[in-house]
Symmetry: C2
Subunit: 250 residues, 2 copies
């Protein structure tokens, strides 16, 4: 047997016990002091082991109460049909459409503004830097049953969105995409670029992400024919969300 770092061994031992059901979902783990004496290590070492299990999503912590085996919250699977035209013409934006499917109460707070497009945005929207283009920014915090579950910042060329309803807080029934279509930008397809990363401290707080738990980042670009008309940077808690895609075999 290889000699491991103490905190790794402790994490592995506890993980085995959780898997084996010694501590069931929702149950309390031994306290810090108990684990210290059981494994004969210092407080910090126990903490490191627990931090690992928290990062894996196995354990939740509550200050003043204890460490608890996580009861897996139901995971929301964001499926492909959330972008369907049918949903849109029924007057639902993508988030509201998810809410209807998931049976929770949605709430969105929006901050709308206008700014010079930064390089990343320009490249996604294929804007000509020489013309120093402006974009309309829609910065949204989305809540489900009061809890923040998504952050989304989307950018639209000011040339398209400026002075329209897309520059108001409430874009109306069907959301941004419905307005774009009314304006003659019939949406043909979307690309989504999916990545994962650790949250900045501020995001971790907003999304109530457990320590060390990653967030999923989706960059969605909406196209009307060849033209990119919107880019949306979406941040999701990976504890709560999975993304589902369907791919046809040619």
């Amino acid at each position: 047997m290889v000699r491991m770092k103490p905190w790794v061994e402790i994490a592995e031992e506890l993980r085995r016990e959780i898997d084996r059901g010694v501590y069931g979902p929702g149950e309390r783990l031994p306290s810090g002091s108990e684990l210290m004496s059981r494994f004969g290590v210092a407080r910090q070492t126990v903490q490191n082991a627990i931090d690992q299990l928290r990062a894996e999503g196995l354990v939740l912590s509550a200050v003043g109460k204890g460490w608890f085996v996580s009861e897996r919250k139901p995971i929301v699977r964001l499926a492909r049909n959330r972008l369907s035209k049918a949903e849109r013409t029924e007057g639902r934006g993508t988030f509201l459409s998810d809410a209807a499917a998931g049976r929770w109460t949605p709430a969105v707070t929006v901050k709308v503004g206008r700014e010079r497009a930064r390089e990343e945005v320009r490249s996604y929207l294929e804007l000509d830097p020489a013309r120093d283009p402006e974009v309309v920014v829609r910065d949204r915090v989305m809540r489900a049953d009061g809890e923040v579950v998504q952050l989304a910042v989307s950018y639209l060329p000011a040339e398209i969105a400026g002075g329209t309803r897309l520059e108001e807080a409430d874009t109306g029934p069907g959301g941004t995409y419905a307005r774009l279509e009314e304006m003659g930008f019939g949406l043909t397809h979307f690309t989504e670029v999916v990545s994962a990363r650790s949250p900045r401290p501020r995001e971790a707080e907003l999304l109530q992400v457990p320590f060390g738990f990653p967030v999923i980042q989706v960059v969605r670009v909406a196209f009307a024919g060849d033209r990119a008309v919107e880019v949306n940077f979406i941040t999701l808690s990976s504890e709560r969300y999975q993304l589902v895609y369907q791919i046809d075999a040619d």
Copy 2:
């Protein structure tokens, strides 16, 4: 100004300086001792701040040398056409097809076996638990230029794959999917379920993932008509990979 935890403030200060270019890509940050005296904190506090920046992918560490501003490795974007029939008939598996696009040298080590399907696998493959089905397991470690970049474990019903080339280490040109099609299972579509999580210590070591850095998990199911013929659990370093999907607007 709100009072923050010291390590959060230190991380923010260093992040600002990196953004501002005080320390450019590849350059060394001040050493632990220097940061301790600069911020007037203990070693562990500096370490916590650095750990945060490492988790964000901004900073890399090298024992005995120092902390360095990460030079972003080029990110591989796994696009949708990696599953195209064209690639397959050219004799490339999906991984080799990625390699050809990315211009690196691929290497795969495979472990093939057979086992009783666990519940998760059964449900993806829609196997009847009453018949206690077996599956062929293909456990693969994929390397690019010698470095491990993907872990993939795929399961095929033994009823289909048993005794065929799919139970050998080398599945031949075009890989698993090509063999399936030859056997009469013409692939019609795939679903991919994307999630992110923190790596287990073993995965972190294999994938050489920086501390606290998440991995992307993709569960891909291959369908021949209505029938699920393979499920593949793929683990990727999120530092190296992004996934690209295209979605048609109905």
